[in-house]
C-alpha cells in the first residue's frame, strides 16, 4: 500500500493528535476562541478529532467590548452549530471591578488588559487547558513555543524555563492552579491555514473578505472607523475596498486594500503579499519585544 500524504494531511494528523492529547491529559480543556480563522480551524479540527462524538470542549471568548459586530454574531452561531458551551470573559467587567485599568491616550487600547480578564476567567471556571490557534510562524517569540506550553499559577510563561518537548510525548503535568496553553496548529503557516480552509470548506466571518468599509489611515494600515476610536484632527474617514487578515479588537485591527471576495482570490493574494499578517496589528509595533512581553504576562 503506497501512501503519499500531502503536507496538509500531515499537518491535520499532527493537530488532531495534539488535540486528543489535550483532551486525555486535562480535566477541563477548552478552546480559546477569538472568532478569527485560526481558532475556527482549531475548532474544526477538534470536531474532526472526536467524530462521530460531539466536540468535548467549551469555547472561551475574551470580549474586549470593542468588537466587530460580525465577530460576535459569528461566534454565537458557530458555537451553537458545534453544540459547544460558550464561556465569555468580559474586559468591561474587569475594568468595572477595578482589576484592570483602561489605557488612555491616543495609543490606548484594551489589548494588553485582555490578559487580566483571561486569567480571571481561567480561575473562575477552573480551566486547566486552553487550546489556541497560535502558530510559530506568526512572530519571533512564538517560534519558540511548545505544543504544550506551561503557565504558572500567575498565568505567566517563562521562556527560559520551558519544558523540553521530545518526539510527540507531551507533558501536561501541573501543580494546582497552573494551566496549559496548547497549540495544535503550531507548525502551520498562514498559507497552510488558508489552503486548509478551502479544502475543508470552512465558513469564515465576512470580515476576511473584501467589502466597502469606512476606514482611516493610521500607522501604515487602514483602521476601521467605529464608535470605539477617537479620530485625530487630521484623520478623515474614507470608503475603501478592505479586508482583514487577522481579527482582533476593532480599535487596533488594521485592514488591507483588497478586491479579494472569494477564498481563491484571498489565497492568490496571500501568496503575493510580502508582509506578515501581524504587520497590521498596532499592538505588535510598540517595540521589538512587545509580543514576548505580553506572552510573559499571560497573553495568548
Amino acid at each position: 500500500m503506497k501512501y503519499n500524504p500531502s503536507f496538509l494531511d500531515e499537518l491535520e494528523a499532527e493537530a488532531i493528535y495534539v488535540i486528543r492529547e489535550a483532551y486525555a491529559q486535562f480535566e477541563r480543556p477548552t478552546i480559546l476562541f477569538s472568532g478569527g480563522k485560526d481558532s475556527i480551524v482549531v475548532s474544526h479540527l477538534a470536531r474532526k478529532a472526536f467524530a462521530p462524538a460531539g466536540i468535548p470542549f467549551a469555547l472561551v471568548h475574551v470580549d474586549t467590548g470593542h468588537n466587530f459586530p460580525e465577530t460576535i454574531e459569528f461566534r454565537d452561531r458557530y458555537a451553537a452549530s458545534l453544540g459547544a458551551e460558550l464561556i465569555v470573559g468580559s474586559v468591561q467587567e474587569s475594568i468595572d471591578r477595578g482589576t484592570a485599568q483602561e489605557e488612555h491616550g491616543p495609543l490606548g487600547n484594551r489589548n494588553r488588559i485582555q490578559s487580566v480578564t483571561l486569567l480571571e476567567t481561567i480561575e473562575r471556571e477552573r480551566l486547566d487547558c486552553l487550546l489556541g490557534g497560535g502558530r510559530r510562524d506568526e512572530e519571533k517569540a512564538r517560534a519558540k513555543e511548545r505544543f504544550f506550553s506551561h503557565r504558572d499559577a500567575f498565568g505567566q510563561w517563562d521562556p527560559k524555563n520551558q519544558r523540553p518537548e521530545l518526539w510527540n510525548l507531551f507533558n501536561g503535568a501541573k501543580q494546582p492552579g497552573e494551566h496549559f496553553r496548547v497549540f495544535p496548529i503550531s507548525n502551520w503557516t498562514e498559507m497552510n491555514v488558508w489552503h486548509y480552509i478551502r479544502r475543508e470548506g470552512i465558513e469564515l466571518p465576512s470580515l476576511y473578505f473584501a467589502a466597502p468599509r469606512q476606514v482611516i489611515w493610521r500607522s501604515n494600515s487602514w483602521l476601521p472607523v467605529s464608535e470605539f476610536i477617537t479620530l485625530r484632527p487630521t484623520e478623515v474617514p474614507t470608503e475603501k475596498m478592505i479586508r482583514f487578515r487577522t481579527l482582533g479588537d476593532i480599535t487596533i485591527t488594521g485592514g488591507i486594500e483588497s478586491d479579494a471576495v472569494t477564498l481563491d482570490q484571498i489565497i492568490a493574494e496571500v501568496e503575493t503579499l510580502r508582509q506578515t499578517e501581524r504587520g497590521n496589528r498596532e499592538d505588535d509595533k510598540r517595540s521589538e519585544s512587545s509580543m514576548e512581553e505580553r506572552k510573559k504576562q499571560g497573553y495568548f
Binding site: N4, E10, A49, A51, P52, A53, K144, R163, S186, N187
Partner: protein, 411 residues
C-alpha cells in the same frame, strides 16, 4: 516526502543563525516587514544587514547575542515544505539539541572551514546518531575566510569519516559554503569551480531519508476512547490514535496489548469519512468487531510481537537542571503506557570529550547521556528505538515538579 523536518546544530560562532537567515532570505521566505525590522535593528547596532537577526527570537538572546532555545522556522519552495528546528550549539544546551533532533528527519551540522572538525562537531554528530536521524549534511561554512580553498573542504570530509562511523550515521553529505556571502546556500557559488555538487537548498529539496516506521509492522497506541452515546451512534465505540508504525486495513486481524486479545478491525474513520485503510502518521479512529478492554495506553498491533518487559535497557539523556540520585522515583511516559518508574541502574555514562562510555556512579547530571536500566511499575508496550522511533522513545517526569527530566531511547 512532501515535508522535510530538519534540525541545525553548530558551535556558538559557526554562523548558524546567519546560515538560516541566508536560507530564508535567498529562498524568498522573508516578508518585507520582517526585513524592515532586521534592517532597522542592524542599523541601530551599526552593522550591515545582519541576517542572523531574522532568527534570534527572545529578548535575552538579543542581549547576549546567542540562541538559547529551540526555535522553529517554516519555509517552502515549489518542490518541498520545510520545518526547521533551530537549536543552540554550545555544550550546556545539549538538551535543546536532543529536543530539536527528536522530531527531525535530517540534521545540518556546521563546521567552520578555518577550524575543521572539532569536539562540538563530534558531539553534535553523536547526538544526531543517538536520536536516529537518517541523514546529515555537513555544512563547511566560512569558505570565504579560507580563500575558497578546496583543500580546506576535502580535509573536513576526510576528518569526518571516523566521526560518521562512531556516530552510526548512514547517510552524510558535504557542502562547502559561505552563509555570509551566500555561496552554495541557495545560489551556486562562482568562487568554487572545483565543487560540482548541489547547493544546500538543492540537497534539502531532494533528500529522501529512510522512514523505517512506514515499512514496519502495524502499531497503534490508543490516545482515548470515543463513545458518542447519541441515538444515532448509540453503540459506537472507537479507539482514537495516530499510527506509530505500518498500516492497517478494514478486515485486518490485530492484537490488543497489554491483554493480548485478538480482534478484527471493522471500521477506520477520519472525521465523518470512512476509510478502507490507514498508514503510518495518520490520526484515525478504529473500531473492532468485538468488545475488548481498550483504554489510553493500550496498543493495537499486527505482525511481530512488541516488547513487553517492565525492565527497559535504554540510552537516557538527562535534561533537567536538577540531577538524578539513586532511589528517586519518576513518572514514565511513552505511547505504549505510563506509570511509576525508577532508574534501577546507571550502567555507563558517556564521556562527551572522548565519546566513549565509562562506568557510572549511580548519579546523572544535566546534559549527561547514559546507558541505564529503567524499571516500570507496570510493563509498557514498546519497541527498540532503532526499529521504531515513536514506540521506542519515552520521557521521565519529576512527580513533584512536573518537569520533563529525561529522554530515553529503548535499546
Amino acid at each position: 516526502m512532501n515535508v522535510l523536518r530538519f534540525t541545525t546544530a553548530g558551535s556558538v560562532d559557526d554562523g548558524k543563525s546567519t546560515l538560516i537567515g541566508r536560507l530564508l532570505y535567498d529562498s524568498k521566505s522573508v516578508f518585507i516587514d520582517q526585513l524592515d525590522a532586521v534592517a532597522a535593528s542592524s542599523k541601530r547596532r551599526g552593522t550591515e544587514l545582519d541576517l542572523s537577526l531574522l532568527t534570534d527570537g527572545l529578548k535575552d538572546e538579543r542581549e547576549q547575542g546567542i540562541t538559547i532555545d529551540v526555535a522553529y522556522r517554516y519555509f517552502a519552495t515549489p518542490r518541498r515544505n520545510f520545518i526547521l528546528a533551530d537549536t543552540p550549539g554550545h555544550v550546556q544546551y545539549t538538551r535543546n539539541m536532543v529536543t530539536g533532533a527528536s522530531t527531525a528527519d535530517a540534521a545540518l551540522i556546521l563546521v567552520d572551514a578555518r577550524h575543521g572538525v572539532v569536539e562540538q562537531t563530534r558531539r553534535h554528530s553523536f547526538i544526531a546518531g543517538l536520536l536516529g536521524l537518517k541523514a546529515v549534511i555537513v555544512c563547511v561554512n566560512k569558505m570565504d575566510l579560507v580563500d575558497y580553498a578546496e583543500a580546506a573542504f576535502t580535509k573536513v570530509c576526510a576528518d569526518y569519516e571516523p566521526v560518521r562511523l562512531a556516530a552510526g550515521l548512514p547517510e552524510v553529505h558535504f557542502v562547502p559554503l559561505s552563509a555570509l556571502v551566500g555561496d552554495n546556500v541557495v545560489d551556486p557559488s562562482a568562487h568554487m569551480p572545483w565543487y560540482s555538487g548541489p547547493t544546500l537548498l538543492a540537497l534539502l529539496e531532494t533528500l529522501e531519508p529512510a522512514v523505517p516506521e512506514a515499512l514496519s509492522d502495524f502499531r497503534f497506541p490508543v490516545q482515548t476512547v470515543i463513545r458518542p452515546r447519541t441515538t444515532e451512534h448509540h453503540d459506537f465505540r472507537g479507539y482514537a490514535g495516530r499510527l506509530a508504525g505500518g498500516c492497517v486495513a478494514v478486515g485486518d486481524r490485530v492484537t490488543v496489548w497489554p491483554e493480548e486479545l485478538e480482534a478484527i478491525v471493522d471500521g477506520i474513520y477520519l472525521g465523518d469519512q470512512a476509510l478502507p485503510e490507514a498508514h503510518y502518521g495518520q490520526s484515525v479512529v478504529l473500531t473492532l468487531d468485538r468488545d475488548v478492554n481498550v483504554a489510553r495506553g493500550s496498543v493495537l498491533t499486527a505482525g511481530s510481537v512488541p516488547q513487553r518487559g517492565a525492565e527497559l535497557k535504554a540510552k537516557l539523556c538527562w535534561l533537567d537542571a536538577k540531577g538524578h540520585s539513586p532511589g528517586l522515583r519518576y513518572e514514565f511516559r511513552a505511547h505504549g503506557g505510563h506509570g511509576q518508574a525508577m532508574i534501577a541502574e546507571v550502567e555507563r555514562v558517556l564521556n562527551l570529550e572522548t565519546l566513549a562510555y565509562e562506568p557510572g556512579n549511580g548519579h546523572l547530571e544535566t546534559n549527561q547521556i547514559a546507558e541505564v536500566v529503567v524499571r516500570c511499575a507496570t510493563a509498557p508496550t514498546t519497541e527498540t528505538y532503532t526499529s521504531q522511533r515513536v514506540m521506542g522513545g519515552f520521557i521521565l517526569v519529576d512527580p513533584v515538579r512536573g518537569t520533563t527530566v529525561a529522554a530515553g531511547m529503548i535499546q
